[in-house]
C-alpha cells in the first residue's frame, strides 16, 4: 500500500481491502474491519460536496468519496452542496496532505 507515494505524485487513489473490499480511510496498510492487507483502487473517482465554507477568496469543502471517505479540500469556484467534483490537485506539503477539487 503506497497511498502517500502516489499522493506525492499528485495521484489520489482510494485504499481498499483486498479481502473484504471495504474502503479503508484514513489510508492504512491493514483493513480496520478484517485486518487483512489493503491496496489502492487505481482509478479516478468522483466525490460529493457535503458541506463548505469560505476563508478569504478560497472555499474549503468536506468532500465524500465512495459513501465513506471524507476529506477537506480547497475549491476556487463557488461550491454547491451535493455537487459532484473530482480531485484536480493533491499532494503532501511539509507532512500534511492537501487536496483541491473542481
Amino acid at each position: 500500500m503506497s497511498f502517500e507515494k502516489e499522493l506525492e505524485q499528485g495521484r489520489f487513489y482510494i485504499p481498499e481491502c483486498l479481502a473484504c473490499k471495504k474502503l479503508v480511510w484514513p489510508p492504512s496498510e491493514f483493513c480496520d474491519n478484517c485486518n487483512e492487507e489493503t491496496s489502492l483502487r487505481k482509478e479516478g473517482c468522483e466525490g460529493k460536496i457535503i458541506e463548505f465554507s469560505r476563508q478569504n477568496e478560497e472555499y474549503f469543502c468536506m468532500v465524500e468519496f465512495g459513501d465513506s471517505i471524507r476529506i477537506m479540500a480547497k475549491m476556487i469556484a463557488l461550491p454547491k452542496k451535493d455537487q459532484i467534483v473530482k480531485i484536480s490537485k493533491c499532494g503532501i506539503s511539509e507532512g500534511s496532505y492537501f487536496f483541491q477539487v473542481i
Partner: protein, 369 residues
C-alpha cells in the same frame, strides 16, 4: 463500586503569560495545599498530570517540587479533554483500591502543541480548529435556520459570566454587534465566536469516602462518568449538526448517577466555539434538536447562569489540559454555594462536559453534594 469524592482544589488565573509548564503546575497545586492545610502529603498515593505540553516526566517533577513521593506518577494526554480523562483515571485508581488519595493537576501554556492534531490528514491543509468549527456552524445554521446574530449570543452570554470570574482570561463584556464586528475568520466564524488558547493550571484532590470526610465537611461526590470516542479524525463525524460522542457519554454518565438530565441544576459544557454550546445542550438532552439557541437566549435574558457559569471556554480561555479540571472546580464551587456573584440557585446536581477534536471524543461527569 466504592464512593469517590473531591476533597480539595486549587487554581491559577488564566492568562497569556509566558511561564514554564512546571511552574504553573506547581502554582495551582500550591494553591490547593495552602487552602487545605490539613492535607497530609505523605498520604497521597498518586499524582496525575493532564497536559498536552511536550515536557517530560512532569508528574515526578511536580511531586518533587511539592514534597510528594507517590506510588503512582504519570501524565495523561487526550487533547482538550485530558483534564476530565485524568479525573476518570484518578476515580478508577481509587475505586479499584489501588489508591486512596490522588492529586490531579492540569496545565497548559498559550502555545500548546495540542491545539492542532497533526495526524488528521483527512483535514488536508485545513487542520486548524477554526475549519471544523466553520463546517459545524454552517451545517447547524442551515439545518435549524439559525442566524449568525443568534449564535453570537453564546459569546455575549459567556463573556458576561466570565466577567464575574476572577480567574477568567477575559474580563470584558460584549454585545451581539461587537461579536458580529469582530475579525471575520471565515464566512461562518468571527474571532469572538472562538475560545482562546492561554496559560493556566487547575488541580483537584480526589479521595476515597473515608478520607474525603477526614479532610472536608462539604465533600463533592463523583456519581456519574461517561466517555465515548467515535473516531480521531474530524471527517469521520457522521453528523455535522450534533455530537454523537456527547450523546453517548452524557447518557452513560446520567445512567451511572441514576439521574435524568432534568435533574441537572448547573453545567459546564465545552463551548470551544459558539456553535458548540447549542449542539452540546441538544446532544446532552437539555433541549430538543434545533432548540439549543432558544434555551441559551432565555438563560441570557433572565441572567440565569445555569450553563457555563464560570464563562465557558470562550470567556475563561482554554488552557487545554487544565480546562476539564477548571470546569470541575466550578461545579464544586457551585454545589458548595461558594461561587459568589456567579452562584446559581442552590444547585444539588451538576454536570461537566469536556470534549476533544471536533467532538470525536467526549467525557461527561456528574457531581453531587
Amino acid at each position: 463500586m466504592s464512593k469517590v469524592g473531591i476533597a480539595a482544589y486549587g487554581t491559577t488565573p488564566f492568562t497569556k503569560d509566558d511561564q514554564k509548564i512546571e511552574s504553573i503546575l506547581h502554582k495551582s497545586t500550591n494553591d490547593l495545599f495552602q487552602k487545605n492545610p490539613k492535607i497530609d502529603k505523605k498520604e497521597i498515593d498518586a499524582v496525575l498530570i493532564s497536559t498536552n505540553n511536550n515536557s517530560k516526566y512532569l508528574s515526578p517533577i511536580l511531586s518533587e517540587m511539592s514534597g510528594i513521593q507517590p506510588k503512582i506518577a504519570h501524565s495523561i494526554e487526550s487533547l482538550c479533554n485530558s483534564g476530565t480523562n485524568s479525573i476518570v483515571s484518578a476515580f478508577s485508581y481509587i475505586s479499584s483500591g489501588l489508591a486512596d488519595i490522588v492529586l490531579v493537576s492540569g496545565a497548559e501554556r498559550y502555545d500548546s502543541p495540542g491545539q492542532i492534531l497533526e495526524w488528521d490528514n483527512s483535514r488536508g491543509e485545513f487542520k486548524h480548529p477554526i475549519f471544523w468549527a466553520s463546517i459545524f456552524s454552517k451545517s447547524y445554521k442551515e439545518k435549524y435556520n439559525i442566524s449568525d446574530e443568534e449564535l453570537a449570543i453564546v459569546s455575549v452570554k459567556n463573556h458576561k459570566q466570565a466577567s464575574k470570574n476572577p480567574n477568567a482570561l477575559s474580563k470584558k463584556t460584549y454585545t451581539v454587534e461587537d461579536v458580529m464586528n469582530s475579525k471575520k475568520l471565515t464566512d461562518d466564524l468571527k474571532l469572538l465566536d472562538c475560545s482562546r488558547p492561554c496559560t493556566g493550571s487547575a488541580s483537584i484532590l480526589l479521595a476515597s469516602e473515608e478520607i474525603v470526610k477526614k479532610y472536608t465537611d462539604s465533600p463533592t461526590w463523583i456519581t456519574g462518568i461517561g466517555q465515548k470516542t467515535t473516531s480521531a479524525g474530524f471527517t469521520k463525524n457522521t453528523s455535522l449538526s450534533s455530537m454523537e460522542s456527547t450523546k453517548i457519554a452524557g447518557q452513560s454518565a446520567l445512567n451511572m448517577a441514576n439521574r435524568n438530565i432534568s435533574e441537572i441544576d448547573v453545567a459546564e459544557v465545552h463551548d470551544a466555539f459558539s456553535v458548540c454550546e447549542p449542539m452540546i445542550l441538544e446532544s446532552l438532552g437539555f433541549t430538543d434538536p434545533g432548540n439549543g439557541m432558544d434555551m441559551i437566549k432565555n438563560l441570557h435574558q433572565t441572567n440565569n447562569f445555569k450553563i457555563n457559569p464560570r464563562g465557558g471556554l470562550i470567556g475563561c480561555g482554554h488552557p487545554l489540559g487544565a480546562t476539564g479540571i477548571s470546569q470541575t472546580i466550578e461545579i464544586i464551587e457551585q454545589l458548595q454555594n461558594n461561587a459568589e456573584s456567579r452562584q446559581t440557585d442552590n444547585p444539588k446536581t451538576g454536570l461537566i462536559h469536556n470534549m476533544s477534536a471536533a467532538a470525536t471524543s467526549s467525557t461527561v461527569l456528574v457531581l453531587e453534594k
